[in-house]
Symmetry: C2
Subunit: 260 residues, 2 copies
């Protein structure tokens, strides 16, 4: 995975739409992305079959971007190769998670990408937004400030504001990562000691952990499990772990399971 | 005019769409405005009859904002009560005019409104944008930075970025104007000596001037006139004149005409 980054294949944030309902919003998203130099669009379980003619109608000059859309059944799969996920939501969430104004988050995307991370910006379905389970898988919450009495942004309009902030802060500021620069990075920052873990690597750990917890009777009832599990995912996600740390934890889980 | 400002009736920028073609864009504009606390939408010679059902379909919760839309046949009439106009355009223009990034312009709107001015943000038709004549009537050009290869923003998406910047910088920062604060304003700033001229006051001056120039044979040919006149309008608009200065100039024109 990290080798791909060395080749500098991914230099803009990915846009991930979870359960988009309206093809028009997918097309308007593609058009807005192209205006601001973004080209990596991913759909998680869209409502309508793909390709969606309504999306193509709205995309105007961005039809080729739609041709390269990636589709996956879950956020974890759609984001498998990404290292940093930002959940866009206006509702408060009952979980410990950093909340950033989008204008303050954009410089961080630039810095993270300059350090070799792949960044994904995650948007929920038109009416319902992101589920708590999806928010838990993201490293921080993006807030777009709006009138509290009319807080609900159109999906593609939320995307365009994030894309605008990206372009304004750093579309040209992200420099190619070289192996030299990453090797010479300061050892004071634990994240530079090892590449950040991808979503897929985290998921591998989560699967292992969940199975271990299930086997160990950790989840007292089926009713209580979703919330408990979400809190665990949130906690580990928030930690922004490196590949090495994930490997360490996986070894720790195995070690614990052998201790009988 | 200025008395209205004392009553603090207009505390958000107006959005002016010149020759909008698609009702969908008018509706999406209204929705975006409401998200960011804007409520003054004006249409200059829209293509389709008003009320436009396609606009209402797209407005979702902003239908009441559409009910209060103002319609006028020209930009000068639509902006008659406004003091500061910003033209949104991505194309370079062959005229001397300040160009501001929208993120840098927003704090200025806040300051101008805090000083009692009414601000209007002007957007052109979907495919063609603003005419040079309309740009000439604006005090500055707003630039929304985009990928040069895909610079053409959807109309409602351009509006939402301007509205977002407004909200981010100062939706709550604009304080009511009191007569005391305006009277006590520093005499060092010529704009505070007299209220800024409205577009209507400027237009009265322009009409007088144009008639005087016509009568005096200033415009050598009908072919050359539009460009010459546009340059004059641009020059006086750029000056950001006060009411008092406009009155002075009108007197000057009359004086010149009497000098025979």
């Amino acid at each position: 995975m990290y080798e791909d980054l060395m080749k500098n294949e991914c230099r803009t944030p990915a846009i991930l739409l979870v359960n988009p309902q309206m093809g028009e919003n997918i097309g308007a998203t593609a058009r807005a992305m192209q205006n601001f130099g973004l080209n990596d669009l991913r759909l998680v379980a869209p409502r309508d079959p793909w390709p969606n003619p309504r999306a193509y109608d709205m995309a105007v000059n961005a039809k080729s971007l739609l041709d390269s859309v990636k589709i996956a059944p879950t956020l974890a799969e759609a984001a498998a190769d990404l290292h940093r996920l930002y959940a866009t939501t206006s509702r408060g969430r009952d979980m410990v998670k950093e909340v950033l104004l989008v204008a303050d988050a954009a410089p961080r995307w630039v810095a993270e990408m300059a350090a070799g991370a792949r960044v994904g910006l995650v948007f929920g379905a038109e009416r319902t937004g992101l589920t708590n389970d999806d928010v838990a898988r993201c490293h921080a919450i993006l807030n777009i400030p709006t009138d509290p009495e009319n807080a609900s942004l159109n999906l593609s309009q939320a995307v365009i504001i994030a894309a605008y902030e990206w372009f304004r802060h750093g579309a040209v500021a992200v420099t190619p990562l070289t192996s030299t620069s990453s090797r010479n990075a300061s050892p004071r920052n634990p994240e530079t000691l090892s590449p950040p873990a991808t979503t897929a690597e985290l998921q591998g750990f989560f699967d292992q952990l969940e199975a271990g917890l299930e086997a160990g009777g950790f989840f007292k009832t089926e009713q209580i499990k979703p919330r408990m599990w979400r809190n665990i995912i949130n906690l580990f996600t928030r930690a922004r772990m490196t590949e090495q740390e994930v490997r360490t934890l996986r070894g720790a889980v195995r070690a614990l399971q052998n201790n009988d």
